[in-house]
């Protein structure tokens, strides 16, 4: 999800009512482009002050240090796209209480398919601000040319480390492949002796570039002496992986491992086709043939398992550890195949449903080797039955405010029907509930699809420069020609709620 509002203010200039300073949008570019194509990336800067704002912008090659992911500038990385920009440097004045559009035209060269990246460094400086320590926005530009290779990941067990006298958990990811993905993790910290949960932590939507290594870091504060159990559930793309656990001892002298660090790799086994889609009547029986391919250089025994499939609130799919339940029975035959290097085997997937089944049913199929350090390959299956009822519901969960100024609306999208849907989201701010004054971008969660029974979490940000008045924020998810889920959120910008006009002065 790429929605953020990020405001910083000195105590002396904290606006009790609203935002101040400047806003910049977007915070990251991840775009599909075509070889030979001309395009323009555009940054929008809103100056909320009464001082002129000078924006200095530079597009630069970037690499990332292993594990810390600190950016390194000045190199010439192989996947650089900074030289695609025809005006890689820009200086622009944004007048007080005005908006500036910073255009970055580029020409994509005729280049081989893959992912290319660079970073836009934006240095804002308000007139009359004597500060010598300043913020700099670093906006990643990630451009996908043509079809993308599939990532090949290595996932490590979580680690408990000491950083500046404070314990923190690190969840390691390695991407030795040419494929790009985003990663996340949910982490649980327990006291090993009692099983008491000390805390749960999560992070998501972090970039993992090809050929890089990265830790996701979670600060846990100071821990007392004892043994601790850490369980991490990593995520990459829209796939959740099985939990990984590690134990650590915390003593006066430091932290020591109570269990070995392990690294897991994605299985070299693949399926063909990469998904199963079947339409059948209720009570019917069907079968499909899956080809299982051993892409490794060693013979292996492959175990095929049919499992329940669920979808998390961030849109990720999770293949469970038990067979699907309900009106669906799916079996694999054979359940184990012996495969020499480069060889393919056929597995029959038998599907049957009960007579009262309706709508869409889902399941996962996994193929794992006997190597316990390999993560099984997974594909998703979808059975379509008559009697599907499409229904989406939107529910407001929260409104966040800065002072009296509302800036964030959180909401849930629930698929309360029995069909799998891929809606198109829209949002507008309507003045007096009638006149549109702003179109808002609604993030697409996961791959954009919602399984029956799933609930996704989403949010939108409101423009920082709404004038005082009464508005209605209309959020719509269109999931058919005449099918809309609608959420109307009334908001009020109080008379004192407009952005604070004056910046603080430097010390």
């Amino acid at each position: 999800m790429l929605v953020a509002l990020f405001s910083m203010a000195l105590p002396a200039v904290v606006s009790a009512q609203g935002l101040s300073g400047m806003t910049i949008s977007p915070l990251m570019f991840r775009n599909q482009v075509g070889a030979g194509q001309k395009a323009t990336l555009q940054l929008q800067v809103q100056n909320l002050q009464q001082d002129s704002l000078n924006i200095r912008l530079s597009v630069q090659p970037v690499e990332f240090d292993d594990w810390t992911y600190n950016p390194k500038f000045g190199g010439t990385p192989a996947h650089d796209c900074s030289n695609w920009f025809t005006s890689p440097e820009l200086n622009q004045i944004v007048l007080p209480n005005n908006q500036g559009l910073l255009n970055l035209p580029m020409k994509v060269p005729h280049i081989r398919p893959g992912v290319y990246w660079c970073e836009v460094r934006v240095s804002p400086h308000f007139q009359n601000d004597p500060s010598t320590i300043n913020p700099e926005y670093q906006i990643p530009v990630i451009l996908f040319v043509g079809s993308q290779p599939r990532p090949s990941l290595k996932l490590g067990t979580p680690k408990l480390v000491l950083d500046n006298k404070v314990e923190q958990i690190e969840v390691p990811f390695e991407n030795p492949s040419e494929g790009f993905t985003v990663i996340g993790a949910t982490v649980e910290l327990r006291q090993a002796a009692t099983g008491r949960v000390i805390g749960t932590y999560y992070d998501l939507d972090r970039n993992l570039y090809p050929g890089t290594k990265r830790n996701l870091v979670f600060s846990v504060g100071e821990l007392g002496e004892g043994q601790y159990l850490i369980t991490s559930k990593p995520q990459a793309g829209t796939r959740s992986f099985s939990p990984m656990a590690a134990r650590f001892n915390v003593t006066k002298t430091g932290i020591s491992e109570a269990s070995a660090n392990e690294t897991y790799e994605l299985s070299p086994i693949t399926f063909d086709p990469a998904s199963i889609l079947v339409q059948m009547p209720a009570g019917g029986e069907r079968s499909a043939v899956l080809h299982v391919i051993n892409n490794s250089s060693k013979p292996t025994a492959v175990k095929i398992e049919v499992r329940a499939l669920s979808q998390g609130m961030d849109g990720a799919f999770d293949v469970g550890t038990t067979p699907p339940i309900g009106p669906l029975v799916v079996t694999a035959d054979p359940e184990t195949v012996q495969l020499d290097p480069g060889r393919t085997a056929s597995v029959r997937i038998a599907i049957s449903t009960s007579k009262d089944a309706t709508g869409d049913l889902w399941f996962g199929v996994s193929a794992g080797s006997q190597d316990s350090h390999e993560i099984s390959e997974q594909i998703y299956g979808n059975i379509r039955l008559p009697g599907g009822i499409p229904k989406l519901d939107l529910k407001q969960t929260e409104i966040k405010k800065i002072g009296q100024y509302p800036y964030f609306i959180g909401f849930e999208i629930a698929n309360s029907g029995n069909m799998s849907l891929k809606p198109i989201p829209f949002a507008q701010v309507l003045e007096q509930g009638l006149t549109p004054v702003a179109n808002l971008q609604v993030p697409v969660i996961g791959g954009g699809g919602i399984l029956p029974g799933s609930v996704l979490r989403n949010s939108i940000l409101l423009p920082p420069n709404l004038k005082p008045g009464v508005y209605s924020v209309s959020i719509k998810y269109q999931y058919g020609q005449d099918l809309f889920a609608t959420l109307n959120v009334p908001i009020t910008i109080p008379a004192g709620g407009k952005p604070k006009p004056k910046a603080g002065k430097a010390k």
């Binding site: 300073g21 949008s25 320590i133 791959g447 058919g480 010390k507």
Partner: protein, 218 residues
């Protein structure tokens, strides 16, 4: 300015292109390697989602930032923003003659976010006076930490403190993970500066150090 009716009409006009994509998906399903179980094209005008669309490795993932192709105008923005005001200081005016005393100043900077953020110190320098290096006169020790709450009401620390002296502060930083963001989205960044003077420091001078705090959602 068009009213809500226009809004609805605009949505409807998107239907035809969307449905042709759906038809393509259905045709692909029919002609795909899983030919034993044919799936007739969906006739209902419903935006359905199927397993062939449920890739574990979507190319664009979640972000769909504005991009202008050819002469097309950008789509409406406003969903993604970052704003900043503030100063982190950097200048010390010294009166009196050189001393070994130190003075500390804390900047508490309010941040409101609903995204994971990374903070990183970069380009921090030694002391300068009038454009000339003045590291013999002293140094500045920095410390940075993130807390829940606001500058007026600082809450529990969300990260450990990181620090360093002069340019040794560079590459110090931390991440605010998505799960660590307080429910109201409000956190405080503390940047502390401690000036350590030597006997070579001269009064009536303005000593300056510069640096950058990088902010990224990376």
């Amino acid at each position: 300015m068009p009213g809500p009716y226009f809004f609805e009409s605009k949505l409807r006009s998107l239907k035809s292109s969307k449905m042709s994509v759906m038809a393509s998906v259905a045709i692909f399903s029919i002609l795909g390697p899983l030919a034993l179980l044919l799936v007739p094209a969906q006739q209902r005008s419903i935006f359905t989602f199927n397993s062939s669309q449920a890739s574990a490795w979507p190319v664009q993932h979640y972000a769909q930032a504005p991009i202008i192709i050819g002469s097309k105008r950008p789509q409406g923005m406003g969903g993604e923003q970052v704003s900043v005001i503030g100063n982190f200081g950097g200048t010390f005016s010294i009166s009196g003659i050189g001393s070994t005393s130190s003075s500390r100043s804390d900047e508490l900077i309010n941040i409101t976010t609903n995204l994971p953020l990374t903070f990183l110190a970069a380009n921090f320098t030694i002391l300068y006076v009038g454009g000339a290096q003045a590291n013999t006169a002293g140094s500045i020790t920095y410390e940075m930490q993130l807390y829940a709450g606001t500058a007026a009401s600082v809450g529990a620390p969300l990260t450990g403190a990181v620090g360093g002296t002069d340019n040794m502060f560079n590459n110090s930083g931390f991440s605010l993970s998505a799960g660590a963001i307080p429910a109201n989205g409000q956190v405080v960044l503390r940047l502390s500066r401690t000036l350590n003077l030597t006997q070579y420091a001269e009064g009536a001078n303005t000593y300056t150090a510069s640096g950058i705090i990088n902010l990224t959602i990376n």
